[in-house]
């Protein structure tokens, strides 16, 4: 195999050959022509296909297996898979090209590993669904066949071909051929890669001791993993400490918290640090170095603690939205409360109370207003001071409002309850019952349009009359009639906003979504992982969730973390920068482009018996962005698995007219 980088060719003055990749669309005829051409060339040996020759020089031993998936009919209903197989079989180096109904099935995967063994394949391409679904699956199959998994290339002919070009079967077929031929081109330039192995420290850091952190910690410790639980407050439990009975179980929140806190306290594997803050985080999966500052000492003195952990679970929770001054008269009128304030008010009132008394006044009518600080619209709502508009739904306020409305009607039947919503989102199991029950209990519902939120004013009678408020709404339930309701208490259904963890986000290089919450890699396929390996998300740090969802996410994060500890060492995809010492001159252009501390450095080393300065990559710290690659005047640094020459070859595969033939590259490869 040659790893000649074609930027390094020597043919400075040769003319450019430009016969490949000519414009033209008649792909059917094109494919037939190519097959015909290749056959004739094969017959007319010794002057066989130039491409074959050129390829032979490059890599005499290539035996590529290509597997094309029908995906039931998902692919083959559009793409002529037989024709694809027939065509790619002609590409030099392809030893076998097979069509399978489900390559991901057991028999499908066996075909691949068997062919590697019995047909001596040394490269494999699978053309199937998106790599996010089965790239790992097929790398596994390839490894089981005894081949290095990085000699495998995945081609997406479902999401990006058959499903995207349903009404253009000929075009889809031609695109599939080109994309496979691009993959084959890349495989001519790949070398085996080893996963990066690093020691794995079997200890987890959980940041945040709300229910998410408590659950994650106790699940992890239950699997025998040591946990360091760091809580910034002087108490565990998070927001649940403030709520009374929680939906849908109507269990007391404090009981729930107590259960979890006891489980954590009982477990010797867990070390809890209260009134503590994670000051710095560095390192990588299996090897994070953290510094914690703690005020929990006997006399409140600051203590510093350093630890090495293998995984970090972010369970820092949410903050409740605090309305801006004057927003729906909040902080202007004492009778305007937020939902958390109201929940706490209800909780503080004794069970046998017959009246709801607030600020020494008897409450007779309460209005609840949904979506305050959530589902905000550009042009309708004022952005908060940091310029953010919360366009998301906080998901827990609807059910909490209905729960509280129902509680008011049940405990104080004399109080009138009015509910102003855009729609009711009681999405979770058992939550819809609150709506049904609240309706039956006489809660009166109004529906407003998000673009026209209700107007809240002090009634003309004003302060004299108990600070009464009037709420005016264009009510969709009465076909847009403008209605006004007088109440003496207004509860703003405030939702959740992201926690204040900017320092951690920056240090750990975490991604945040448009909503400002921590962002997962993929909402469906990898819901609790983040782009930084070894860091997991638990609970509302990731976005609004109810208790059930929070605990489910925390459990999932714990299992993910536990599975990371299953091995002595951590294995990372080797997609990191690599320096070619035969080219590097130690000029450090690359180093200036790297934003990851310690990832890329100039060090002294011995090369060919001489001490010289050369670039060196720390594979554990390199994020694999490749920022360094572009600037090297010697093309001495490249990104493993995603090298420039591999991309060049893929472009050739796409642009070339003869599938698999590198498009005059030896002629244009001027350096």
């Amino acid at each position: 195999m040659s790893y000649q980088n074609d930027h390094q060719g020597q043919h400075e003055d040769e003319p450019v050959e430009l016969e490949c990749g000519e414009p033209g669309r008649d792909e059917e005829a094109y494919v037939r022509k190519q097959i015909e051409l290749a056959r004739r060339q094969a017959d007319a040996s010794p002057s066989a296909a130039i491409a074959a020759q050129q390829h032979q020089e490059d890599s005499p031993s290539l035996r590529i297996g290509v597997y094309i998936c029908r995906c039931g009919g998902n692919i083959s209903d559009v793409v002529d898979v037989e024709r694809v197989a027939e065509t790619v079989r002609l590409i030099p180096g392809v030893a076998t090209a097979k069509v399978h109904t489900f390559v991901c099935s057991d028999p499908g995967q066996h075909t691949i590993s068997d062919d590697i063994l019995y047909e001596n394949l040394d490269r494999v391409v699978v053309a199937s669904c998106t790599p996010f679904l089965h790239e790992q699956t097929f790398r596994g199959a390839v490894a089981r066949g005894g081949m290095n998994p990085y000699l495998y290339e995945h081609v997406n002919i479902r999401e990006q071909v058959s499903w995207a070009h349903r009404h253009d079967p000929a075009g889809a077929t031609s695109k599939a051929i080109r994309m496979i031929s691009a993959a084959i081109g890349k495989l001519r330039h790949v070398a085996p890669l080893d996963q990066i192995k690093l020691p794995n420290h079997r200890r987890a850091l959980v940041i945040g001791g709300g229910i998410a952190g408590l659950k994650a910690a106790s699940d992890l410790a239950g699997r025998g993993i040591k946990v360091l639980l760091v809580e910034i407050a002087d108490k565990l439990g998070g927001h649940l400490n403030q709520w009374g009975r929680v939906y849908p179980s109507e269990r007391a929140a404090e009981e729930l918290v107590a259960d979890l806190v006891n489980a954590v306290g009982r477990n010797p594997n867990i070390e809890v640090l209260l009134s503590s803050k994670v000051k710095t985080v560095s390192g990588f999966i299996g090897n994070f170095k953290v510094a914690v500052e703690s005020q929990s000492g006997a006399n409140g003195a600051t203590q510093k603690l350093n630890a090495v952990v293998g995984a970090i679970i972010m369970a820092t929770g949410f903050r409740p939205y605090i309305p801006q001054d004057g927003e729906f008269l909040y902080r202007t009128e004492p009778t305007v409360l937020t939902l958390p304030e109201f929940v706490q008010l209800m909780r503080s009132i004794s069970h046998d109370a017959k009246r709801l008394v607030y600020k020494e006044k008897n409450v007779r009518n309460i209005a609840f207003l949904h979506c305050v600080g959530s589902r905000q619209l550009d042009g309708v709502h004022e952005p908060s001071t940091d310029g953010r508009l919360n366009s998301y739904c906080s998901r827990t306020c609807c059910t909490t409002i209905l729960q509280q409305a129902l509680a008011v009607r049940t405990r104080f039947p004399q109080i009138g309850v009015f509910d102003f919503n855009q729609d009711i989102r009681t999405y979770g199991r058992g939550e819809e019952d609150y709506y049904a029950q609240a309706s039956r209990a006489g809660v009166v519902f109004f529906r407003y349009n998000g673009e026209e939120p209700p107007r809240v004013e002090i009634t003309p009678a004003g302060r004299a009359k108990d600070g009464a408020l009037s709420i005016t709404v264009k009510d969709a339930l009465t076909w847009g009639q403008e209605l006004t309701v007088g109440v003496d208490m207004l509860v703003l259904g405030t939702g959740m906003i992201p926690g204040q963890i900017q320092d951690l986000i920056e240090q750990m290089k975490l991604a945040i979504g448009e909503d400002g919450f921590l962002q997962e890699v993929h909402p469906k396929l990898r819901p609790v992982e983040v782009a930084v390996n070894g860091v997991l998300l638990a609970g509302t740090a990731q976005g609004p969730m109810n208790i059930q969802e929070t605990l489910a996410a925390a459990g999932a994060a714990a299992v993910k973390a536990a599975s990371m500890f299953a091995t002595e060492s951590v294995e990372l995809n080797p997609y990191v920068a690599a320096v070619d010492l035969t080219r590097c001159t130690g000029e450090a252009q690359c180093v200036t482009q790297c934003d990851y501390e310690g990832a890329l450095q100039i060090v002294q080393m011995e090369v060919d018996g001489e001490w010289v300065e050369r670039a060196q990559v720390n594979a554990g710290l390199c994020a694999g962005c490749g920022a360094c690659v572009a600037v090297c005047p010697h093309r001495a640094i490249d990104l493993n698995g995603w090298r420039i020459d591999q991309f060049d070859a893929m472009v050739d595969g796409i642009a070339a007219d003869i599938p698999g033939r590198e498009c005059g590259s030896e002629l244009v490869s001027i350096h």
Binding site: A164, A627, P633
Partner: protein, 166 residues
């Protein structure tokens, strides 16, 4: 060649954002022309200028760099990318290669409409411009490679240190 011109469009789609975004288009049963070829990249900041010019010289008519924008998972990568593409664009402009052939845009994992819009826009532009001037692209590629090489420091090699000196 009696066939009508069908441009070859290369999309460099980031693995965290635009590639899944392009998947989302297919999953939503939306269609776009089959002459759009998508390559998965970690971050397009990887590519030296000459990679783009080389692609044109090989017959790629337009390149859409579909990145993550402010959602880029790598520190500083997006800003560097933007600066590099800016420079490439002005070099193309100065060299006479139509700058509509390159475009940097951000496509998120669910940005179906944005993806379709960008592809349609590129497609329209390329139909208007016709096939890329491959000879010219090749000239610019060589110039770019030469410039990159010239950025090497004048001294040949870092003076070798003596074996025992450390």
């Amino acid at each position: 060649m009696s066939n009508p011109f069908v441009p070859k469009i290369l999309v460099l789609a980031t693995e965290k954002c635009a590639y899944p975004g392009a998947d989302a288009v297919g999953k939503a049963h939306q269609e776009y022309p089959s002459n759009v070829y998508i390559l998965r990249v970690m971050s397009p900041v990887l590519f030296p200028e000459d990679f783009f010019l080389r692609s044109y010289s090989r017959g790629i008519d337009g390149i859409l760099i579909a990145a993550c924008g402010s959602d880029c998972p790598y520190h500083g990568a997006y800003d560097r990318l933007a600066a590099r593409i800016d420079q490439l664009t002005s070099r193309m402009n100065a060299g006479g290669l139509e700058i509509e052939r390159i475009r940097l845009t951000a496509i998120c994992t669910v940005c179906i409409k944005a993806f379709l819009k960008e592809v349609a826009m590129m497609s329209d532009n390329l139909h208007r411009l016709g096939p890329v001037d491959r000879q010219l692209a090749e000239q610019l590629r060589r110039a770019s490679v030469e410039r990159l090489q010239a950025s090497a420091r004048s001294r040949e090699l870092v003076p070798a240190l003596q074996g025992g000196l450390r």
